[in-house]
């Protein structure tokens, strides 16, 4: 059976592949990764008494992985909403979106196509950064399976970031507004999900964070921290002594989730559900049958007033 591509994915990839901006973007991405790699290597070398005889250097080289991975995660988190935030508003600006809506594609397929094309474009970046990442695995002593897990985690992050971008793009007519709004939602997900935990700790004078920690299941930052912890040490961040997440008496559910890799998988599922929710809202929003033409209504009011 022949697999049918979502036409939007095919078209977006065709257009992107021919764009010089994309090629330069890949070049810049690799350049940043190489710089991060060299910087990390220099720091490790500077911290070793004797580069050639110090056996600890091999132990320290393992830190190349988190340094590069965090750099990659940050870049992906930064570029994914920029790519998707302009996807629907860009179509609106070009006045091609109306034609798209008159075709037989459902609004959800349009939104999904835009997110998938953004994820695939991000995968181009990830693939371009693979040789640099591979260096950290060669000298860092981590398994290739870890690299595969990392790629899967990056895909998850790009789906979330992409769906945030598409959500904002569906609400804004201008791409720049959509990008700004995307980063506002980032702030809510990455920062404000800590607020219940902090409030609980303040309320109990540091004794218990309770189940308020569960909000952090939706935080990709915490997910990646847990992910790196699991990959490098094999234990959960939540069960590690001295970790900010293990301070105080956590609730029953949080304690149960901190056993093994449960938290990591559940967090991945939560992030995926959140992404799908964002896509459904975006699809609802772009469907002209669900809106009553607010902008025109405003204009009509202005014309009357």
């Amino acid at each position: 059976m022949k697999i049918r591509w979502n036409p939007i994915v095919k078209k977006d990839l065709q257009v992107t592949a021919r764009s010089m901006r994309f090629s330069w973007g890949l070049f810049a991405y690799d350049a940043v990764l190489v710089m991060a790699f060299l910087l990390a290597l220099a720091v490790i070398q500077a911290n070793s008494d004797n580069y050639y005889s110090d056996s600890n250097i091999y132990g320290n080289l393992i830190y190349l992985f988190p340094v590069l991975a965090v750099a990659q995660v940050m870049i992906v988190a930064l570029i994914a909403p920029i790519i998707t935030a302009s996807s629907i508003s860009g179509e609106k600006e070009r006045q091609t979106f109306d034609i798209m809506l008159t075709t037989c594609m459902s609004p959800f397929s349009i939104v999904l196509g835009k997110v998938v094309s953004a994820v695939l474009r991000i995968l181009f970046f990830v693939a371009a950064g693979m040789p640099v990442m591979a260096l950290s695995f060669v000298v860092g002593g981590l398994s290739w399976a870890s690299l595969l897990y990392f790629v899967l985690a990056i895909i998850l992050l790009s789906v979330l970031s992409g769906s945030i971008g598409i959500l904002c793009s569906s609400f804004c007519r201008r791409s720049i507004t959509a990008v700004v709004l995307s980063f506002a939602i980032y702030f809510v997900i990455y920062v404000l999900t800590f607020v219940p935990m902090i409030l609980s700790l303040l309320w109990t004078e540091g004794d218990s964070a309770g189940e308020s920690m569960l909000f952090l299941l939706f935080n990709p930052g915490v997910f990646f921290e847990e992910f790196f912890m699991q990959i490098m040490t094999g234990v959960s961040l939540f069960g590690t002594e001295g970790s900010m997440f293990s301070t105080g008496d956590v609730g029953f559910l949080t304690y149960y989730l901190s056993q093994g890799k449960t938290w990591m998988f559940l967090s991945a599922a939560c992030i995926l559900i959140l992404s799908i929710l964002f896509m459904i809202v975006a699809a609802w929003r772009v469907n002209p049958m669900n809106t009553s033409g607010g902008i025109k209504r405003k204009k009509a009011k202005m014309a009357k007033g």
């Binding site: 065709q14 006045q95 034609i99 008159t102 037989c104 025109k296 009357k304």
Partner: protein
């Protein structure tokens, strides 16, 4: 082919389209006329499923589905007034993209693309990037794109706006060609002379309401039924005005330097009798002619001079 029943669109307290009902028979080339803000585009957007109607329904052929549903979209080919393009996309790729969006197979799209590009006279541009085409070519490409899924109804929203005279003629010829092939076409435009030349029927909208619709011959007959006569005189204009005002069934509309415009509801014989009377009263006539009925004059009468 296209039946619109009681279509209404409200924006708060403002009514953009007010209880519009319309029937367009199969194979018609229907011209939608109206000043800016009359509600033409709003109506078209509602029919195409790009805008939610406040009330009313649309039926295409025998299919009466919800506006914006897949069944309806499959029956309509839509050409907007402005043609947006993607950078770095070739003409055949552009067609392939939209064909795929209708669920068509690439092989079928490729075959149809060749035929349609020939129809719109763009066969030699197949490998060109869309953004390098002229505006007229882009508009014709957009028509080809709209025909790709073989819709029953083709809707064009001001396709000639922004086109140069040559591109307008080409577009007009293309639409005539499509009409002769039996396509039902709805076109909104401000260029009334163009519409009167090619349309088989028209609808005139003003302030959200359809104020007149029908076969173009019937409508033109109504215009000529106005009996507007221009009388030009070298001297004796005052006498002529006085005399005309005394005549039953004659209304003096305006008096200019050497010209009087009247409306005569009488017969042609009565009009020719007027000439005799004017000459008898020493009016030196230099011209006496009946105004040709035009869509422009009808439009001006019906919309209160709101032509663009």
């Amino acid at each position: 082919m296209l039946n619109i029943y009681d279509l209404t669109k409200n924006y708060g307290s403002f009514t953009a389209v007010n209880h519009l009902s319309l029937h367009i028979p199969e194979g018609d080339l229907f011209g939608f006329v109206g000043p800016n803000g009359a509600g033409k585009t709003t109506t078209i957007r509602m029919v195409c499923g790009l805008l939610k109607a406040s009330s009313g329904s649309v039926q295409i052929g025998n299919i009466s589905a919800r506006m914006g549903s897949k069944e309806m979209k499959r029956l309509i080919g839509y050409v907007p007034d402005f043609f947006g393009v993607y950078d770095n996309l070739k003409v055949h790729e552009y067609m392939d993209f939209y064909g795929s969006m209708y669920g068509m197979r690439s092989r079928d799209i490729a075959k149809l693309t060749d035929d349609l590009l020939e129809l719109v006279n763009l066969s030699d541009k197949k490998e060109f990037y869309v953004d390098t085409l002229s505006r007229g070519m882009k508009q014709r490409l957009c028509v080809a794109r709209a025909l790709l899924h073989n819709p029953k109804l083709l809707i064009l929203d001001e396709p000639s706006s922004g086109l140069d005279p040559r591109a307008r003629v080409e577009m007009k010829e293309l639409l005539k060609n499509l009409h002769s092939m039996g396509k039902t076409i709805v076109i909104s435009s401000h260029i009334l002379s163009e519409l009167s030349e090619m349309c088989t029927s028209i609808g005139i909208m003003n302030r959200g309401q359809l104020i007149m619709a029908g076969r173009i011959e019937d409508i033109m007959q109504q215009v000529t039924g106005g009996r507007r006569i221009h009388i030009q005189a070298a001297s004796g204009l005052d006498t002529a005005v006085r005399l005309l005002m005394e005549q039953a069934g004659v209304v003096v509309e305006s008096v200019r330097e050497n010209e009087i415009i009247i409306t005569n509801n009488g017969t042609d014989e009565q009009a020719s009798a007027l000439i005799g009377q004017l000459i008898q009263h020493q009016v030196v006539l230099t011209g006496f002619y009946r105004e040709e009925g035009s869509l422009e004059s009808l439009f001006m009468q019906l919309t209160g001079g709101g032509v663009q």
